[in-house]
């Protein structure tokens, strides 16, 4: 048994290919046969991923020996690499159509998430501007939270909360998007770009769109990646100064 674990750990990435393909196969089968294609296979597969992550630790299932390769396959390098490759299916004319509104969505999405986060934090007993700013930043994405917290010198407990907020947001977006896509008119490239810019969370947006309609992924992912950039830019600077101004 120990030898097997060692072997799987040594060949982690290859083992991860096997695990993920098994998850995909079962999920697509269940989606097709049991839900009659009502719940997309991708959505089921992603949910299965989240559920098995719960049984792991800090790195999800990758914290369990033998499953370490999942961290390589699902790590930021391969994730970003495959996100960039989806741009191949995007049309430049569609992107240009949403240019200006898309930019506005980026700013608006950051502001709304930040204000919601800040107000809730304040009403739940956080009165230090650093804490409020970091929690508000966490409401953008789980990258903006720690980047902002580190930049303005927030405590590690608050930074941990900001990461948790971002992760909850991305999980929530992943699960919710396929179900409400029709209601918010999310069925064309332009709305996908607006959606990505407003909601942010690259992982949530791209996973949610993958489960809704894979053709929309590049459009949503494109603006969502700039959302993180916008958050990292605004939160520790302008927005922190504004919070400071109001509380002092």
């Amino acid at each position: 048994m120990n030898d097997l674990i060692k072997l799987l750990d040594k060949n982690g990435l290859v083992f991860a290919f096997l695990i993920v393909s098994a998850i995909m196969y079962v999920s697509y089968y269940v989606g097709k046969k049991l839900t009659n294609n009502k719940i997309p296979g991708a959505a089921i597969a992603i949910s299965v991923g989240l559920i098995i992550a719960y049984f792991g630790g800090e790195k999800g299932v990758a914290s369990i020996p033998a499953f370490s390769g999942m961290a390589i396959l699902g790590g930021s390098m391969l994730r970003d690499f495959s996100i960039v490759s989806t741009a191949m299916g995007a049309s430049f004319t569609e992107i240009k159509k949403t240019g200006l509104v898309g930019l506005l969505c980026l700013i608006l999405g950051t502001l709304i998430a930040f204000i919601m986060g800040g107000v809730i934090a304040y009403s739940m007993g956080y009165h230090d501007p650093k804490d409020i700013t970091t929690i508000g930043a966490g409401a953008c994405t789980f990258i903006v939270g720690p980047v902002t917290g580190a930049a303005i010198g927030a405590s590690s407990a608050v930074i941990a909360i900001s990461i948790a907020i971002g992760v909850i947001k991305s999980i929530f977006v992943t699960i919710l998007t396929p179900f409400i896509a029709k209601r918010i008119g999310l069925d064309n490239p332009q709305t996908a770009m607006i959606f990505g810019g407003l909601v942010g969370s690259t992982s949530g947006v791209s996973a949610g769109l993958a489960a809704t309609d894979p053709k929309l992924v590049p459009y949503g992912a494109l603006t969502a990646t700039f959302h993180t950039a916008m958050g990292c830019l605004l939160c520790p600077s302008v927005l922190y100064f504004i919070v400071n101004y109001f509380l002092n």
Binding site: L50, I112, M116, A121, L176, V217
Partner: protein, 125 residues
């Protein structure tokens, strides 16, 4: 050959990250500002330009398309490696902020989308 496509993809990826890194340094932040976004833009614009001139062989294109079909499996692996336990134990602040902030953004999607279509509509008139 397919590897040419993978090479083009790698070049876009790295150039985008270098730009994002320089932007991050320019604003004195430890992090990459939109590297993936720049990489995507580069690939979209490049693809648009070279396709019009018919300069991309199908095999090369397939090298890139393979990775875009690997996208969902990679996302599945990514969800399986999230710190779900910590997210759920982050307390009520984390759960409330995470959910309410997201809903607020969702509500704005149809509003902005309508505005965008009316903007495009008036442009074409």
């Amino acid at each position: 050959m397919k590897i040419y496509g993978v090479g083009i993809l790698a070049a876009c990826f790295l150039i985008g990250h270098i730009v994002g890194d320089m932007l991050g340094k320019a604003f004195h932040l430890t992090g990459n500002l939109g590297g993936v976004g720049f990489a995507m833009l580069l690939l979209v614009v490049g693809n648009d330009y070279f396709k019009k001139k018919n300069l991309i062989p199908t095999e090369t294109e397939n090298g890139i398309l393979f990775w875009s079909t690997m996208y969902i499996p990679v996302v599945v692996a990514m969800s399986a490696t999230q710190n779900v336990k910590a997210a759920l134990s982050g307390g009520w602040v984390a759960i409330l902020v995470g959910i309410l902030a997201t809903i607020a953004c969702y509500l704005l999607v149809p509003v902005m989308s309508k505005w965008s279509t009316s903007l495009n509509h008036s442009k074409t008139k």
